[in-house]
């Protein structure tokens, strides 16, 4: 079986510290995978390695059968892997609309120069001018009312959504989200995830998301990778991983009621 994304023996050390050790994962197209683990377990290091922010000390990363390990973030993005960040990476002095206009502008330039012939449909010359494409994306994420506000003054949840919208402008085949609901109120988190998952599915993106909230994981992930001390200690269907004794002891810890609800929710589903 061919996987859209595959890592083999991915390892990253910082001096004497091993942030990720021997991570081998195979990701099927169209799947939604939750990455869980305590702080420092290696989740973000894994995302950073796959997206080119960190180069692995050892191991390889394959995307659609091609080795992308040595590529720069921009090259990986052009191939079809995009990401959002735990701290949203926006253009603070530009408005929400301008942020997306810049993003679609880059997509346009890359589409013209792309050797892969991937032409996103929201691209000028292919049906939609830059500004309209940006407005459509804002509308899709329910952000139209913030269109003329500078990104630096937007509320936390809006910044998260805009960051994810920026990542989606490149029409990725794999979308990696680093804690999409962190710093967001509990009332907002499901609304944000609903919008994100809807948009990602509409683009046909395979989604991997780092998350500490087990309610979110159990509701949206089909499969869970549990990280502990730089390694994956459990990999499987959401309900079974969340119910795993080792995962409950080392990863979820005293999550108590939230974990019970999460497991029940995943089992019901």
């Amino acid at each position: 079986m061919s996987y859209i994304l595959e890592t083999r023996g991915l390892t990253r050390t910082f001096g004497a510290v091993t942030a990720a050790a021997d991570i081998s994962v195979a990701v099927e197209r169209d799947s939604v995978i939750g990455l869980i683990g305590t702080n420092g377990a290696g989740k973000t290091t894994f995302v950073n390695m796959v997206t080119g922010y960190l180069k692995p000390t050892a191991g390889t990363i394959w995307f659609k059968g091609q080795d992308i390990t040595p590529l720069h973030p921009r090259q990986i993005t052009r191939r079809g892997i995009s990401r959002s960040f735990q701290i949203p990476q926006l253009y603070g002095s530009l408005t929400a609309l301008e942020n997306l206009v810049v993003a679609f502008g880059i997509v346009l330039r890359n589409a013209k120069a792309s050797p892969f012939g991937r032409v996103p449909k929201l691209v000028p010359g292919h049906g939609m001018p830059l500004r309209e494409a940006a407005e459509a994306m804002l509308d899709r994420f329910g952000l139209s009312e913030f269109r003329d506000k500078p990104a630096s003054v937007l509320p936390g949840g809006v910044r998260k959504l805009l960051d994810i919208a920026m990542a989606l402008t490149v029409k990725p085949e794999v979308l990696m989200l680093d804690e999409p609901t962190s710093g967001v109120s509990s009332e907002e988190k499901f609304a944000i995830m609903d919008r994100v998952m809807r948009a990602a599915r509409a683009e046909g993106a395979t989604v991997l998301f780092v998350e500490h909230d087990m309610e979110i994981v159990s509701r949206y992930a089909q499969r869970v990778l549990a990280f502990y001390d730089g390694r994956i200690i459990a990999d499987g269907e959401t309900a079974s991983v969340l119910a795993d004794e080792e995962v409950r002891r080392y990863v979820i810890g005293g999550g108590g009621r939230q974990v019970e609800q999460g497991v029940a929710h995943a089992q019901d589903r």
Partner: protein, 311 residues
């Protein structure tokens, strides 16, 4: 109509107005031409500033453009204005492409100081080359347009008009450029390079292109100055000249492509009058102007226009 869309019309109106009224004020034509030529260099600096980069070395290309054109005139007798402009732009572009490979990887104080270092290297070379007049420099022959002198002994108008047209076309092109995807990358790179890379664009490549454009604009500014003054010397690459461009850029603000020319004209006015009425302390007047700008108009003179427009 948005401010962005209004700019070309305003530029065209400004061109027509200055070309019509300039003959009435012949005594101002030299100063205005010089201000426009320097404004061209500052326009390049505006592009870099919008990208979050400060260059203290635009004197390098300002001097290089002037010397390239001057040398072609000196050794081969070429005086045609378009040929000289092309030579200045081409030489500046080639040097900027080469230096850009190094400079595009630096930011902040390192970019500023490295750019300054290169301009001082050129200064150091020129003062040693006696064939190019050493510290005295050399005179530049009056420019011609299809064999005819543009500016006569009594009139500066031809050179002024030519400079106005070149400035108009360049400013229009830069205005358009800022609306292209590559142009829009300037504030994006200034704000967040990580996001630019994670959208699939090369920050280094974009900075390199912008550095080359800024170099070419400075080169054109240099040759226009050379043709206006009729003389060039290594001082054009000296750090004080580069500092003057940064001064004008701060005075002008980065709000509009026309701002550098307004700022350069006001700078020349302040300097001329300060020198005339207080020859020993004229620098104080410039210092005071800078102080007042930073205190009351931190976004530059252009922000005053923006404020008035909103009122």
């Amino acid at each position: 109509m948005t401010a962005e869309n209004r700019t070309p019309l305003l530029l065209l109106a400004a061109l027509v107005v200055v070309l019509v009224i300039a003959p009435v004020f012949p005594q101002w034509q030299f100063l205005a031409t010089l201000a426009l030529a320097k404004g061209m260099t500052v326009l390049g600096l505006l592009l870099l500033l919008r990208t979050g980069l400060v260059s203290f070395g635009q004197g390098l290309y300002y001097c290089l453009g002037a010397y390239a054109a001057g040398t072609v005139g000196l050794h081969w007798g070429v005086t045609d204005v378009f040929v000289l402009l092309l030579v200045a732009a081409a030489v500046s572009a080639v040097v900027a492409v080469l230096l850009g490979f190094l400079l595009a990887g630096y930011r902040g104080i390192f970019f500023a100081m490295l750019s300054l270092a290169f301009s001082m290297i050129l200064y150091g070379l020129l003062v040693k080359v006696s064939a190019l007049g050493s510290t005295d420099g050399f005179n530049v022959a009056p420019p011609t347009f299809f064999g005819r002198e543009i500016a006569g002994k009594d009139s500066q108008y031809g050179m002024f008009a030519l400079t106005c047209v070149i400035v108009f076309l360049t400013t229009l092109a830069m205005h358009r450029y800022f609306q292209t995807p590559l142009g829009r990358l300037s504030p994006a790179i200034r704000d967040n390079e990580i996001r630019v890379e994670y959208l699939g664009a090369s920050v280094r490549g974009a900075v390199h292109v912008k550095y080359v454009i800024a170099g070419v604009l400075a080169g054109i500014g240099g040759v226009l100055t050379a043709m206006t003054v009729g003389h060039i010397d290594p001082e054009m690459a000296y750090w004080t000249t580069s500092g003057e461009f940064v001064f004008v850029a701060i005075l002008s603000g980065t709000g509009n492509v026309a701002a550098p020319f307004v700022g350069a004209f006001i700078f020349e006015l302040i300097r001329t009058y300060a020198y005339q009425y207080s020859p020993n302390t004229w620098q104080m007047a410039l210092g005071a102007a800078m102080l007042l700008t930073i205190l009351f108009l931190p976004a530059g003179l252009w922000s005053l226009y923006e404020r008035l427009r909103k009122v």
